[in-house]
């Protein structure tokens, strides 16, 4: 029973890991750029939802849509002004841009919002569902369902809409896409906006059980990269599988080892997977 509880807890948190990581993999998939600043957009998304709660009284689960919209817009601007310039530059230049962005965003949030920790209060924050001997925290469940919702919406967008197909076409062959009348630059803007917007959304839905502060991104950045590489860099399905895998591995490992070692167990599994399947669980479906 403890095992089932652990798997359940792992799935709940894994769903959120999946959503915040989808953005990272999407940006890489479409543009071939590794966005080191991705976790900072998670921080920004959390701040947007926090202020929406504080000043507008919006529940973070509703505020998450606002987070998505605001950060989507910010992402488009960042793509137009910064990322676009280094698309064909050497990888080192790309790394410098995104790392620079990380430093700038982190320090700007520190200057503007201060280093305080912020947290929201909601009615369901301390309630829980009981299924016999099993416990599911309501905020975890809510975050999980919102995560599933956003992943499904992204899937519909990329597979069922013209824009989504055009974005995938750009990912596969920008020149051919251009010849078919697709504005590749526009597609990249949408892709980057969607990528950081998804991560911001994921940040907002965990606000009921997580506090936000300017350096909260540090706590997630390693997990995000692990999820993405474990699943297969550039693959959205891989990020979902990777997210659940990381959540469940972390949670189940605590049954057998001290909690301190949960990330050790995770990285041992991670290295083993990479040794056997260097392209990740779901192959490099770029």
């Amino acid at each position: 029973m403890a095992f089932i509880q652990a798997v359940l807890d792992g799935l709940m948190i894994g769903g959120v890991y999946a959503v915040i990581s989808i953005g990272l993999t999407l940006v890489f998939g479409v543009m071939g750029i590794v966005n080191f600043a991705q976790a900072e957009f998670l921080t920004l998304g959390m701040f947007v939802a926090y202020f929406a709660w504080k000043f507008l009284g919006l529940d973070p689960l509703i505020g998450s849509f606002l987070s998505f919209v605001v950060i989507f817009g910010l992402g488009v601007v960042v793509q137009m002004t910064l990322i676009q310039r280094v698309l064909n530059a050497p990888p080192v230049a790309q790394i410098f841009v995104t790392v620079g962005l990380l430093i700038v965003i982190e320090n700007l949030t520190l200057i503007v919002f201060g280093s305080d920790f912020h947290s929201v209060t909601t009615s369901y924050q301390t309630s829980t569902l009981r299924l016999g001997p099993l416990f599911i925290g309501v905020p975890y469940l809510a975050a999980f369902l919102m995560a599933l919702l956003s992943a499904a919406a992204l899937w519909l967008f990329t597979n069922k809409t013209w824009y989504g197909r055009a974005m995938r076409a750009t990912a596969q062959d920008p020149m051919a896409a251009n010849l078919m009348g697709i504005n590749a630059d526009r597609m990249r803007q949408i892709a980057f906006g969607l990528g950081v917007g998804m991560t911001a959304f994921g940040g907002a839905v965990i606000l009921p059980y997580f506090t936000v502060h300017p350096t909260v991104g540090h706590q997630f950045v390693v997990l995000m990269f692990t999820v993405v590489v474990l699943g297969g860099l550039g693959s959205v399905a891989g990020a979902v599988v990777g997210g659940f895998a990381v959540g469940v591995i972390q949670s189940v490992s605590t049954l057998f080892f001290p909690i301190q070692l949960q990330n050790l167990v995770l990285f041992i599994v991670f290295l083993t997977v990479l040794a056997v399947r260097p392209t990740g669980l779901i192959g490099a479906a770029r």
Partner: protein, 441 residues
């Protein structure tokens, strides 16, 4: 929630820190009696190589606060103003500024011809290597007579390597036993060591529970696996053995944990009488929320850190009510000293602010005695005198008296409890301002 200082000028009723303080000469050094508490946390959690790279790139930021005059005394302040511990660093800086303005408004250091205290504040970031680097720079370039800082034990440990090498006194309120446990001659620890803090964290509530007729029989311990958490948990464990209390859960967890559910699942199975988490804010808040989700209502006794700052109450609302914590000092012990802080900065004077004010106060008193900024004379004055009154008097135990290792032997930890927006001292009885509320079974 943003805390901003209002500037030094609105502090009209500044009390003289030095005037009403007495300093008694003492003969030999005293025997070590008390110990500290552990507030330090390792900043090593930045496992992300990039973050580490970024921290290295970001040149630590130095700011000159006061006007530089020829006769000023430069005092270095190294605290984390960015990164995971930034909030605590800002609190610390506010406390030091308050004390500095009081000293300067009252005529500066009289033994040095009224020299003003000129604070040179440097951001250690939350990374130990940076703490050492900026400390080094303050000593080499700013000619500081002493350094105050650096809040977290891991930062202070790194910083103390630099100050020891350059023979500059370091006054700190970090908890770790290692601060004064290495035989350094330039380090002065203002409060009890982490193991003493851990012992008090259990002894206090054990006494309170006994008094309530519900003696503690079994406890659960959970702690962050940093210098702070580990040494404090050690104190808890030893004391439990001494008092014959069974430890039914003893679990370390990594700094920056993203999901505490496994911890609470384990706690639920233990049926302990009380839980003792040693954590900072984010993990502490998560622990209490998840406990409440699962309907666990055993008393919680935090290990200072995140449990004794206004944000704890802001994050948890009514769920913070009656949560206990150990602390090295509390603002309600000397409202006449701490009220000006609240007026100026808008929130109650948290313990790290109090103890950093004490650090500066003790330094100023030592300068009055030595009448000399030379580090040998200053060190002598610090080590051979007992400091009482003023800020030094707010330390439970009555003052500051360093033994040969630099540990304040007078300090005694206290237990505080949340009541609405306030944190009240409930143990030991001789300093308590309110009766403790024990909700245990």
């Amino acid at each position: 929630m943003h805390r901003k200082g209002k500037g030094p000028t609105d502090f009209a009723d500044a009390r003289s820190a030095s005037q009403e303080n007495s300093v008694s000469k003492k003969g030999e050094t005293k025997s070590p009696a008390s110990t500290p508490k552990g507030l330090s946390r390792l900043a090593l959690n930045r496992r992300h190589f990039l973050a580490a790279g970024a921290a290295t790139l970001a040149t630590p930021y130095l700011s000159k606060i006061a006007r530089a005059q020829g006769s000023d005394v430069n005092v270095g302040v190294v605290v984390p103003l960015s990164g995971a511990n930034a909030q605590f660093g800002v609190n610390s800086r506010n406390g030091i500024q308050l004390a500095a303005d009081q000293i300067n408004d009252n005529g500066g250091i009289k033994a040095l011809g009224g020299a003003k205290i000129n604070l040179i504040i440097a951001d250690s970031t939350s990374t130990p290597t940076n703490a050492a680097t900026v400390g080094q720079r303050l000593i080499a370039q700013q000619n500081v007579v002493a350094i105050l800082g650096a809040y977290a034990s891991s930062l202070s440990l790194a910083l103390s390597e630099a100050t020891e090498r350059r023979d500059v006194p370091l006054l700190t309120m970090s908890f770790s036993d290692m601060i004064t446990g290495r035989g350094f001659k330039n380090v002065f620890q203002m409060i009890s060591k982490a193991t003493t803090m851990g012992a008090a964290q259990l002894r206090g509530p054990a006494g309170v529970a006994e008094k309530a007729g519900k003696p503690l029989k079994s406890i659960a311990i959970m702690y962050e696996d940093t210098a702070f958490g580990t040494s404090q948990a050690g104190g808890l464990r030893e004391t439990a053995a001494e008092l014959g209390i069974e430890v039914v859960m003893d679990e370390a967890y990594p700094l920056g944990i993203t999901d505490v559910t496994p911890l609470i699942n384990q706690l639920r199975g233990t049926n302990a009488d009380a839980v003792f988490p040693c954590s900072y804010l984010n993990d502490g808040v998560q622990i209490i929320r998840t406990m409440r989700q699962q309907g666990i209502d055993m008393p919680v006794i935090g290990g200072a850190g995140g449990y004794v700052i206004p944000d704890f109450r802001a994050a948890l609302g009514e769920y913070a009510e009656n949560v206990f914590s150990v602390a090295p000092s509390n603002y309600d012990l000397a409202p006449e000293l701490t009220d000006p802080f609240k007026e100026r900065f808008g929130y109650f004077m948290v313990h790290e602010a109090i103890e950093h004010a004490v650090c500066l106060d003790v330094l100023a008193k030592a300068l009055e005695i030595s009448g000399d900024t030379d580090s040998d004379a200053l060190r002598e004055a610090l080590r051979n005198n007992r400091f009482e009154g003023g800020w030094a008097g707010i330390i439970p135990g009555g003052g500051v008296d360093f033994d040969e290792t630099g540990l304040n032997t007078l300090a005694k930890p206290i237990i505080v409890q949340w009541r609405g927006e306030d944190l009240v001292t409930v143990w030991p009885d001789d300093v308590a301002t309110k009766e403790a509320v024990w909700a245990g079974k």
